[in-house]
Every structure is written in structure tokens, then in C-alpha cells.
């Protein structure tokens, strides 16, 4: 099956899921430094190069510093729709040619959109690197001359089908957008999902595409990272040949602040869906990525729900066996963040009984903290994820781009890993108290016609 051009939300979280290994003795397994060179073309395009000759392949990974968080009300989902349109050919590349020539060269390629950025990448045999530079520079510099409404309409249909496949035709799929709309004020750019609404996708026009391109898709709003088997002198020459003629665009002013989030009291919501079992979602406003308490909240999520010995899994799924599964995550993005726990009760179990356990376990962490062993397990799982992200050239390109974008320094993997090493049990207890002590959004997704199954303020199902 083909899965392309996905909308991707929790980047950090997905790394964790993919992740695996580490040393219990934190000193024993150091995270290697990624050597790189960074420079900027006169037109503002940032270039990051990392050589790795272990396999004769190369990853070309372009980040545009724009995401759904830059969208306007009424055009939600546009950044991601635009990402799709970027594969529809450009002035010198016919419709359909993009994927055809890449696949015939042995390349795999894709793109993805988050709240904060849009990426486009190819992994190719090392001889095919000029092909990626030709295609990527053509869509950076020459997208609009051959842009027309049929291209937009076609990808609009594809994206609507992506939304159906990921959201509308998926059990609990609409929970996320209900939660975001309840958690953030309407003018907050994280109050809508990356995939957007059907209405807004229908409203997107050719003019929107042209304006968005002119506003955000200039070399001075992009970073081109190349990692793998190449000769740096040759690559620099090629990059200059393909990209330096693309004119600089107007300065991009990205939002730096967001409207304040205010949840004065616990808010209980219900959504009916075509599901056999209800599911409870607890969401707290937390902090943005890389801010002071972000790492401690990541570890708290691990301790609360992400392995068999975690507090809620052990209690609800392993011992009492009243829940089918439970998960938790801290989602720290560029501008803001949230902490979420979700639980699916087993057939016949009441959400109110689940809720009692959730409240008790959170109170236990707030009141008596976590053990050193619990923290160490969580830290080791995190540490493992850092090593695994460096196993492929595309992984390394993403790491360099990600740090470059979020902390302004590609060379940050060791510092990032150190953030997790520094967290203490007192930190975990403190962040639990600070953030999980706040009023929250509680959504119960219930089977159609079973609204009475929802969790209410009185703590009980009605």
C-alpha cells in the first residue's frame, strides 16, 4: 500500500514510538555528535551538509518554515493541501514526472506537514543526487507558471480522501479536532487540526495557492539538508547552480506568540461515534517544545502510561483489567503544548470507574512522587530513541533540520539528550502538580445513541 504525503502531528512522540535502545548506566552509551557544515546562499536559503559514506545513498530533506499554525481561520488544512500540490509538477517538470523520474532512479520520496513546518524529502542512490536538486529547485523557484485550478482540485480530492481515511472513517478519529477546539481559543493556530476541515478544503482557491507560495515558499524561508554519500565540493557547486538563481522572497514574519489559553474549570464533552467501546480523553494545557518543563512532561507521560509497569497501565490494564489500553503523551510544539491521557474501558466497564483510578494515580504522583527506578526506565527508553534516530541518513537529516528549526542550532542532539538525563524525580512530581493539577478538557467518545455513557463533572456516568 502506498502512504504518501501524510499529515503528521506529534513528531517527537512518533520518534518515541519508533524508538528503542539505551544503557541503564547513562554514561555508558553516549549519543554521537553529528558532524555537519551549515551555510547560507545569498538568496537566504540555508544549506546543511552531513557526510556519511557507510551506504551509497543520500537523503535530501527540505524544510519550509510554515505549517498549519500559520494558516488563517477559514483556510484550515491549507498548508498540508499545499504540500500535496508541490508534487504536481512545475515549469520544467510535467504533471506526473516528479514521481516517475525519481522512482526510475531508485528513489523514495515523500513529504509531511505539522503545525510548525512542512518537509519534502528524497532518499536516492548517491549518483541520483542532481535529480533531487533539479526537482526540488524547480518547485521552489518555478511552481506557479504551470499551476492551475485542475491541479488544485485534484489534490483537494486526494486530501479529502486522506481526511476520510485518517479521521472520518476511523473510530475515535474526530476526537482530536474536538479536543483542540475546546482546549485553545478560536484565534489560536493550534485550535484546528493539520488536516483541516472539509469546508475549508473546499474553499481553497487557486489565488490562495499563489499567495501562499509567494508568502512562504521562498528560499529565505527554507532549509535544505543533504545527508549521506556525496563529495562536499561537488554538492556545493550543484546546490549553487540549482538554487542560487531563485530570487529571495519578502521577509517571512511568523507568529511568535499565541493567545492565552484559559480553562477555568474542568470541561466535559461527549462525541457519538461508530464504536463498540467508549474512550476517555483527558487533555491539559502544558508547555511548548524545548521549554523548561517539556522533557520532564515527556518522562511523566512515559511513567503514567507507556509500558506495562507504568502507573495507569499496570493498574487499569494489568491488575484490575477494566481497561483495554491506555496511553499518554506530552505534545510540545513550536508555540504551545498539551498533555493527554486516553483510556479505553473493556466491554461492560464504566468510564466513572476508570476515572476514579486515573484521578487516584495522578494524585499519588502529585502527593508522593515517583521512584528512581520509574524515572530511570523512562529516561533509558528516551535515550534509546536518540540513538535510533541516527541510524539512517534520512533520520540524521531530519534531526539536523529539526534542531535547526526549533532551537536554531542543528548541532543539538547531545544537548537534547542531556535535557532528559537532567530530570529528577522531584521535577516529575513538580510538573505533575503544576500541569495535571490544572483544569482539563475531558472528552468521552461514546457509541452512537449512548450519550449517557459520558463522564460528567459529578464523576459518574449518568
Amino acid at each position: 500500500m502506498i502512504r504518501k504525503r501524510s499529515s503528521m502531528h506529534l513528531v517527537a512522540f512518533s520518534y518515541l514510538i519508533a524508538a528503542i535502545a539505551t544503557a541503564p548506566d547513562l554514561g555508558a552509551q553516549s549519543i554521537p555528535k553529528i558532524r555537519f557544515e551549515k551555510y547560507t546562499l545569498p538568496n537566504g536559503l540555508e544549506v546543511i551538509l552531513h557526510e556519511d559514506h557507510s551506504t551509497p545513498i543520500v537523503a535530501v530533506d527540505t524544510w519550509y518554515h510554515v505549517g498549519s499554525g500559520d494558516e488563517l481561520v477559514g483556510r484550515t488544512g491549507f498548508a498540508h493541501l499545499f504540500e500535496h500540490i508541490m508534487f504536481m509538477g512545475s515549469q520544467h517538470v510535467a504533471v506526473g514526472q516528479f514521481d516517475q523520474v525519481l522512482e526510475a532512479a531508485g528513489a523514495n520520496n515523500n513529504g509531511s506537514t505539522t503545525e510548525d513546518r512542512t518537509n519534502y524529502y528524497e532518499t536516492l542512490p548517491s549518483n541520483a543526487l542532481p535529480l533531487a536538486l533539479w526537482l526540488d529547485s524547480d518547485r521552489m523557484g518555478f511552481l506557479l507558471p504551470t499551476m492551475d485550478l485542475p491541479k488544485v482540485d485534484l489534490q483537494r480530492d486526494v486530501v479529502k480522501n486522506e481526511r476520510r481515511q485518517r479521521v472520518d472513517n476511523v473510530p475515535y478519529g474526530r476526537a482530536d479536532e474536538i479536543i483542540l477546539a475546546a482546549l485553545y481559543p478560536k484565534s489560536h493556530p493550534y485550535s484546528w487540526p493539520v488536516i483541516g476541515s472539509m469546508t475549508d478544503l473546499s474553499a481553497a482557491s487557486l489565488g490562495d495557492v499563489q499567495n501562499f507560495f509567494k508568502t512562504y515558499y521562498a528560499p529565505n524561508n527554507a532549509t535544505l539538508t543533504i545527508a549521506g554519500d556525496f563529495d562536499p565540493a561537488t554538492v556545493k557547486k550543484l546546490v549553487s547552480q540549482y538554487f542560487s538563481g531563485i530570487p529571495r522572497g519578502p521577509e517571512v514574519k511568523r507568529r511568535v506568540t499565541v493567545p492565552a489559553v484559559s480553562i477555568p474549570r474542568d470541561t466535559f464533552l461527549v462525541l457519538e461515534d461508530k464504536v463498540q467501546l467508549p474512550r476517555l480523553f483527558y487533555t491539559w494545557h502544558s508547555v511548548k517544545g524545548f521549554s523548561k518543563d517539556d522533557a520532564a512532561l515527556d518522562l511523566l507521560a512515559q511513567i503514567v502510561a507507556n509500558d506495562k509497569n507504568s502507573r495507569l497501565y499496570k493498574k487499569l490494564v494489568y491488575e484490575m483489567q477494566i481497561a483495554q489500553n491506555v496511553s499518554a503523551f506530552q505534545d510540545g510544539s513550536r508555540l504551545d503544548g498539551k498533555f493527554q491521557i486516553d483510556v479505553t474501558p473493556k466491554p461492560g466497564q464504566k468510564v466513572s470507574d476508570i476515572d476514579k483510578v486515573v484521578r487516584t494515580e495522578i494524585a499519588n504522583i502529585i502527593n508522593t512522587g515517583v521512584s528512581q527506578r520509574e524515572l530511570q526506565r523512562a529516561q533509558n527508553v528516551y535515550k534509546a530513541s536518540f540513538l535510533n534516530r541516527l541510524a539512517s541518513v534520512l533520520g540524521k537529516a531530519e534531526v539536523l533540520n529539526s534542531y535547526n528549526s526549533f532551537v536554531g542550532n542543528p548541532d543539538y542532539v547531545q544537548q537534547d539528550a542531556a535535557r532528559y538525563d537532567r530530570v529528577t524525580t522531584a521535577d516529575v512530581q513538580r510538573v505533575a502538580k503544576t500541569y495535571l493539577g490544572r483544569p482539563k478538557i475531558v472528552l468521552t467518545v461514546v457509541p452512537e445513541g449512548k450519550k449517557e455513557m459520558m463522564l460528567t463533572a459529578s464523576g459518574g456516568d449518568r
Binding site: 500500500m1 504518501k4 528503542i20 535502545a21 539505551t22 544503557a23 541503564p24 552509551q29 551509497p56 545513498i57 520544467h92 506526473g96 514521481d99 522512482e103 526510475a104 531508485g106 528513489a107 532518499t123 542512490p125 549518483n127 541520483a128 536538486l133 533539479w134 506557479l144 507558471p145 482540485d153 485534484l154 483537494r156 486526494v158 479529502k160 480522501n161 476520510r164 481515511q165 472513517n169 473510530p171 489565488g207 499563489q210 549553487s240 547552480q241 540549482y242 538563481g245 461508530k274 464504536v275 463498540q276 467501546l277 509497569n309 499496570k314 494489568y318 483495554q324 473493556k346 466491554p347 527506578r373 526506565r377 527508553v381 535515550k383 540513538l387 535510533n388 541516527l390 541510524a391 539512517s392
Partner: protein, 477 residues
């Protein structure tokens, strides 16, 4: 008019780019140098006295290693009426050993920062370990204990069983999952192991006991029925010694080879319809019984399927997604196992276009039987040949690539001759295998969707009679 004016303005503004900046010819793709010569890492093989085969590949880029214990029995070795045993046996490996409790295994796994994953598939059961080499010894001790000394505790089994039954209940929420389970049931019926779901059915799982799992384990988990794949930052001599001390005491035993019933003969093309009221998309699974992994047509089929539905620029995806926008992605595949697995073309289609999409699917399945243009054939071959090195980048990828080599007895130089084997596929070969294995007159077409809104349109295509089925693919009584 307005649109036109805007376009003209855009084109004009781009003309203002200074011409001297155009230092490359953008009008055609750059000439590429020859593809890099690929030599895939050598595979060292060893055999312990008890028959356990080792396949070792050194890869020293990062301090990581992957281990896959591949047992040559999977779901097809489930005893009659006990479907789901292999799957539950694999799940129970982490639920307790003679010296470690379930929670201890989980604690050590997280504490070591390793991943330890058991899994059953059709023809094999695997236990995979991914570990940093800094704590290789502790990780290997855990791995070997879980593999060799599972105790199948009753209390843990009761929990896992309830969990599995709830999973089966939740499956009803998902159209694509319903389709994935019902399609093989329709193709193979109840008399063939591929017709039953790997995770079992509500009735089979309900009836299982730990004795069934013990028996499955005792029968199939034998060193002479297994290969241990080792890839990563290891020294072959040292690792062989470690493995010998951990796995050397594993007792060999006879494992009877499996026999497979013939799958039922395909009937004339029929549309099987499973109602999923209100579904936003229809889940399409179209195909027939395909071929075993041992087929001499492996490379011809692989090239043919790449053209039909095995890549992004394949015909099915180009037509259904990129030309018509009916879906987020369409494709096709041959699942090749010890016996003939299914050939399946699939997509999730917006409900309102179910009839139109069916017509296009059938058009493509007919079209691939016509002569394939030389340039399209060439693109597919280049794709398969040139992306090969990228599949051998990480230790996990290399370990996965070795699984079929071990399981199906492929030659150790299989990947080194892969490029040549693909190159040998001719236009005539592609035509021949398409004609032989894709028969538009005898397809099973399964569509899981909103019957109320899609049935009339599907009927009107006249592609085949409609047979309404239950959620598990059975005839409605």
C-alpha cells in the same frame, strides 16, 4: 478572465529573474553518472550442534545490534479448530518464564532500553531484540530466557485472552480491518489455513487453554526448526560463543513438515458486499489466490506488480489517486508464502465513487494483460534494482531482509544477484505472468462500505453478481 490575467502576471514576474542566474539547463532532467556499485554485506553462517542456524552480518556504524530468532512455524501450524494459537503463543513469550515474571520482563526491557518483540506470521514465529551493544549481555540473557523458558502462566493467559477478544470486538469499528479479515476467508474458505485470521476468531480464542500453547511451543520451537539472525556492531567469533552458551542447551526435536490443502477453485467474478452503515469510504479488496514464494515467476511477477500497483507511479495509484482523486492511495501485492498466498489490489475509496472506482480497477486489471510499453517496463526495473541499497542501511533493515532468505531457503547471494534477476525479466515475461495470474473473469471483489448508498451503482456496473456477506465474509443466512 481574471484567472488568466493573474497567470500572465505571474509568468511575467518570473521572467524578471536575471538570465545569468540560469546556470543549469532546467528543461530536462540532469544526466546522472552510473549508479554506485553495490556490494551487500557478506552473510556468515554457522550451525550449533543442536541444529540452530546462525546468520551473522557485521555492521559497525552505531553501537547497536539486532537479533531475530526465526522459528519456521507460524499460523499455518495452528491445529485444526485452534486458529490463533501461534499468535497467542508468541504473545505469551513475554508474559513469564521459569525465572522471570511478566512485570519483571517488562521492567528489564524498559530499564535496558531495548525492544523485545514476539510476533507470529503465517509461516514463522519471530522474537526480535533491538539493543545498544553497551548492555548486550544483559539483553541477550533476557532474550534467550524469553525464547527458551516461557512458562505460560494461566493468570497472564486469561488477561491476554480477554484482551484478544476485545480486539476482535473492536475490529468491527474499522472497515479496512473487516475487509482484511473477510477477503482471505472468501478466497480460501474454511478448509485452508490462509482462510482463517491469524489472531483467531471469537470462538477459537474462547476455547484455547495454556495447554494448547504449551503444546504448540513444544512442537514447533526447536533449534533445528530455527535460525538466529544477528546484525550489527558485533564480533562474529565472540557473538557465536555467547549464543552457543545461551542456546546450546536447547533440545532438538522432530518438526513434521506442513501440508496444505488445495485452495478452492476460483468462480466467476463476483462482488462480495459487506455492509458498514455510514462508512465514509468503501474498502476495496480485489484479487484471487496467487503464487507460493517458490514460484519460478517471482521476478516477472514482482516487475509486473510494480507496474500495476507496487509503486507510487504504478497504474492503479496514478489512475485512482493522481488522475481521479477517488482515494488517498491504491496499490496491489502478491503475498507469497510456502503455499499460494493471495493477490490483492486494494484502496479506500470515497463512498460516492465506489462504482466508478470499480470500473477503473477492472480496466487496469485488464490493461496489465496487454503488452507493457518498453519505457514503463524499464522504469519499473530501475526502481526495483536501484532502491536495493537503501534497504540495507540500518541493522533492523538488514535483519528483516534476511528473514525470507532463512525462511524460504533462498541462496545466500540472493541479494547480490537480485539486480541481474530483475534485469532478465522481459516484456514477454511480464505479459505472460499477467495473463496467467490476473484473470478478470474470475476475481473475488470485496467491498466493505455503506450498502444503502453504494449497492445500486455497483450493480449497474454489470461487473459481477452481488453476494452480500457478513462481517467475517460468510454467506448471510
Amino acid at each position: 478572465m481574471k484567472l488568466r490575467a493573474l497567470m500572465a502576471f505571474t509568468a511575467l514576474s518570473l521572467l524578471s529573474i536575471p538570465l545569468r542566474a540560469q546556470v543549469v539547463d532546467r528543461t530536462k532532467p540532469p544526466e546522472l553518472g552510473p549508479p554506485p556499485r553495490v556490494s551487500l554485506p557478506p552473510i556468515l553462517t554457522r550451525q550449533l550442534p543442536n541444529g540452530l542456524r546462525l546468520m551473522i552480518v557485521e555492521q559497525h556504524e552505531l553501537p547497536l545490534a539486532d537479533f531475530v530468532l526465526l522459528v519456521g512455524s507460524g499460523g499455518t501450524a495452528d491445529p485444526a479448530g485452534k486458529t490463533g494459537v501461534a499468535n497467542l503463543t508468541a504473545s505469551m513469550l513475554r508474559e513469564g518464564t521459569t525465572t522471570r515474571k511478566s512485570l519483571d520482563i517488562a521492567d528489564q526491557t524498559s530499564f535496558l532500553g531495548v525492544s523485545l518483540n514476539p510476533q507470529a506470521s503465517w509461516e514463522s514465529s519471530t522474537l526480535s531484540l533491538h539493543t545498544p551493544t553497551a548492555q548486550l549481555d544483559s539483553a541477550l540473557a533476557l532474550f534467550a530466557d524469553v525464547a527458551l523458558h516461557p512458562s505460560f502462566p494461566t493468570n497472564e493467559f486469561d488477561r491476554i485472552k480477554k484482551n484478544r477478544l476485545t480486539e476482535l470486538l473492536q475490529l468491527r469499528d474499522q472497515g479496512p480491518a473487516i475487509a482484511n479479515q473477510a477477503f482471505p476467508a472468501i478466497l480460501y474458505g474454511s478448509g485452508h489455513p490462509y482462510g482463517a485470521p491469524l489472531i483467531g476468531t471469537e470462538s477459537s480464542v474462547t476455547g484455547l487453554t495454556t495447554a494448547d500453547l504449551q503444546a504448540y511451543y513444544q512442537t514447533n520451537f526447536k533449534p533445528n526448526n530455527s535460525t538466529l539472525i544477528i546484525v550489527g556492531d558485533v564480533n562474529p567469533a565472540q557473538i557465536e560463543q555467547k549464543i552457543n552458551s545461551l542456546f546450546g542447551g536447547w533440545q532438538r526435536g522432530d518438526v513434521a513438515p506442513l501440508t496444505y490443502n488445495e485452495p478452492p477453485k476460483a468462480g466467476t467474478t463476483t462482488i462480495y458486499l459487506i455492509d458498514k452503515p455510514g462508512a465514509a469510504q468503501s474498502s476495496f479488496r480485489i484479487g484471487s489466490v496467487g503464487v507460493p514464494r517458490s514460484t519460478k515467476d517471482y521476478f516477472a511477477l514482482t516487475v509486473m506488480n510494480t507496474i500495476l500497483g507496487g509503486s507510487f507511479s504504478s497504474r492503479l495509484n496514478q489512475n485512482l489517486r493522481e488522475a481521479r482523486g477517488y482515494t488517498y492511495g491504491a496499490g496491489s501485492r502478491f503475498d507469497m508464502r510456502r503455499a499460494a498466498g493471495p493477490f490483492t489490489a486494494s484502496a479506500e475509496i470515497v463512498s460516492a465513487k465506489s462504482d466508478s472506482a470499480l470500473i477503473e480497477f477492472i480496466k487496469e486489471l485488464n490493461g496489465i494483460r496487454q503488452a507493457v510499453p518498453a519505457d514503463e517496463l524499464s522504469r519499473a526495473k530501475r526502481y526495483l534494482q536501484l532502491q536495493l541499497p537503501g534497504n540495507f542501511e540500518t541493522t533492523q533493515q538488514i535483519a528483516s531482509a534476511l528473514v525470507p532468505v532463512a525462511l524460504y531457503g533462498l541462496p545466500l547471494d540472493y541479494y547480490n544477484t537480485y539486480v541481474q534477476s530483475v534485469e532478465g525479466v522481459t516484456q514477454a515475461d511480464v505479459g505472460r505472468v499477467a495473463q496467467q495470474y490476473i484473470n478478470p473473469g474470475s476475481l473475488a471483489i470485496l467491498i466493505v462500505g455503506d450498502r444503502k448508498t453504494i449497492e445500486q451503482g455497483l450493480k449497474a456496473t454489470n461487473i459481477g453478481p452481488i453476494s452480500v456477506r457478513t462481517m467475517t465474509g460468510q454467506t448471510v443466512q
